[in-house]
Subunit: 479 residues, 2 copies
Amino acid sequence: MTKEIIRQLDYIFKPKSIAIVGASNGPGKWGYRMVNNPLTTGYRGAIYPVNPTEKQICGLPAYANVRDIPGDVDMAVMVAPAQYVPQAMRDCAAKGIKGVVMITAGFAETGAEGKALQEEVVKIAQAGGIRFVGPNGMGIYTSAVNLSLSFDAAPRKGKIAFVSQSGTFGGMLAGMAAAKGYGLSKFVSIGNQADLKAADYLEYLADDPDTGAIVFYMEGFKDGRRFFEIAREVVKNKPIIIYKSGRTEAATRATMSHTSSIAGSDRVFEAMCKQAGIIRSYETGQMFDMAEALVSMPLPQGNRIAIIGSGGQGVTISDNCELLGLKVPEFDEETKIQLKKSLPAHAPMPSNPVDFAGGTRTADDEAKVAEALAQIPYIDGIITNMPMYRGWGGNVAAAHASIEGAEIVAGIPKKYGKPVITLRWRAGNGDIAQDIVRAARIPAYDTPEQAARAMYALVEYARIRRALESEPIGQKTAG
Amino acid sequence: MTKEIIRQLDYIFKPKSIAIVGASNGPGKWGYRMVNNPLTTGYRGAIYPVNPTEKQICGLPAYANVRDIPGDVDMAVMVAPAQYVPQAMRDCAAKGIKGVVMITAGFAETGAEGKALQEEVVKIAQAGGIRFVGPNGMGIYTSAVNLSLSFDAAPRKGKIAFVSQSGTFGGMLAGMAAAKGYGLSKFVSIGNQADLKAADYLEYLADDPDTGAIVFYMEGFKDGRRFFEIAREVVKNKPIIIYKSGRTEAATRATMSHTSSIAGSDRVFEAMCKQAGIIRSYETGQMFDMAEALVSMPLPQGNRIAIIGSGGQGVTISDNCELLGLKVPEFDEETKIQLKKSLPAHAPMPSNPVDFAGGTRTADDEAKVAEALAQIPYIDGIITNMPMYRGWGGNVAAAHASIEGAEIVAGIPKKYGKPVITLRWRAGNGDIAQDIVRAARIPAYDTPEQAARAMYALVEYARIRRALESEPIGQKTAG
């Protein structure tokens, strides 16, 4: 039913050839980066710089007008100044270009005059059969064809799609996600949403095979009703996470001048997310922490979590799990007796969280405990240390145990169908152990708060899926 | 009045010579690390390994007993097994050792037998005039004499003292703080607090010239009343930040088995912090984010913050400031007209937060705006981008502007007496600019949430100081 959007947006997210309208040889300029970035980060399609006076740009032949380009062009990146954009869009239509990523600023965000210009551009696009991203955005990244306009260095590939209403800040957030080791399938800086709106991207990403979770940074919606209607269908197959800014008065003021949309009431937004089955993020960094778990782990059957954590780490993970509504159930006596066998002699009778009480246990002991916990019927998920911190001072046997432990932990999700979340350990020999765990796509976090929140996201999305499955499609819930 | 504690704890935190009782040649063992870590991380005092059978440990001559050591010994690090500790402590007393850092586990945390053993050790220490850290801890770090027992690599030196009830997790938190670039003056893993308790460390650190802010990770207090009484005096000169775990049922269960103290009601704790003027941290990482600002920036006169942030970044910083009770006041018309001169032509009339609306402004423009904001009488503090992200694609002029901008930003706190908090930018040429800003000790954060919370800590501590100054010393507030 919605497949028209796929046909249209594939020109933008899977282009075989791109033209850069307003390409430039000036380092640091957008017209330069839009040629140089695809050229240096792995895009294999044709790149056609367009500039009225230059003969070459970044070593590629330049054309005075898109209509002069000899081959077909799937998509144009628009960086020409605003006043030239209407004519350039007419030229794109004449050339048969079907998708445009409009970087150019100076439209609706600047006032009445810019708004009129933007409306003119939308009309030209509609008449010419062009769909476009922006204007006033920072471009896109798409792993499907290794095309990075937004990032000077291509991000790590992965299953997270990130749609951002803020360009610069969106790029910054994506950079932080990359620094944490998370991978992206798409990045879209949606700008003023003159043509394509948040709901359109959502509709497209719902069927994108590269995307496992969809993350939005939003300030205000232009198509709120449609967005939430589509979202409610999408979450039956893929999780959606939203961070929405503009929760306070000052932020609302800033939003108005920023992308010419008005932040709605935060409480209404909260209710709409609940209704649609969208997971809300309350800190910017948490969006990706949660998405990383959702694209890699099986969904838990319930909210009962077992924790292995050294001392205060276990305490703090427990705290955060319970504050987020997860359960950290106490073990039965038989289980305790079994677990005790893997603990050092001086450790007290095990409890949940399991504390190894310092000392002489090895990483594979911890991993064996993790596997034992995964077999308890009333445990739905595990949070544990990453088995990578043994081998202090070059202890080879300990380092080896760490590798064995990593293999055990890496096998748990497939073997028992239960999610495993790990905490990174900064010290130690852990490279090999870490690689093993990562190869199994076990998420690793730096803090107890991140780990607990990642598990919360899995539990919450599983709950949403079950709730939606139990009611007829299309029927609204009461609240 | 409290100076006895300084005389006592200087043996531990400024030892001229240390003995390691239970030293070992086994890599990865505590007895090995306690010799190797001081040896390889810059400690310049004498190191005496003690072991009944070995002749040499880590290349140093070993002694069968501390009493055999030829020179004076200020402090002993105890890693001998628990059953040998009473005799070893008697030997320490006989040798005239005044301070001990007890790593050994197997005391009160293991049950009744261990508790009796611990009480015996306390009695021996008291009779021998020894004060001791632990047992069941992970040692200390003290920048005063470059002594690192806890960390295999010495942490960055700085003004933050960190006292942790959890050893392993405390070390992990300290490692995260170091990774963020924050510096430590002290780290103490307080273990079971058999002798020295949280309040003792607080009393000592209050007068420690190396320490500007005191950070606690606590699970439960053994000396709560005394701690909060001392805290109320200390905060007149130095800020105290506490993260307390054990906020929920599961965590309380974990705490009991962990360090044999019982987590009190969270609400009571909250009230006691307020009464004492302690700043509470609700996430582990936030302790250090806040402390870093407190050790480096002047205190603001009020809670009115001006923000420079690109698009969504400014929006999100504003959101977080207002959620924390800070004000982001709108500018008067005259100020707006002045600020407009530094903005690109297409930018809208400036508002707070100031948005440069993308485009062609340079880093020194942003810095000049920051300086203009610092001169507004109704602005108490500034949050801004770090001026380091210009020079995309090798633009030298832009990179130079970035350096000029950094110098302006670096000068603001001294010139205007107002704090500046910056947000890091991942991309760009910023190394030199970043060095300039860092040399001025301007804190830099990765996320809007961290930046807003750092400013909150400054505003809140300034408020606490003013509140305490306005009432006679020793008089209790009503609530």
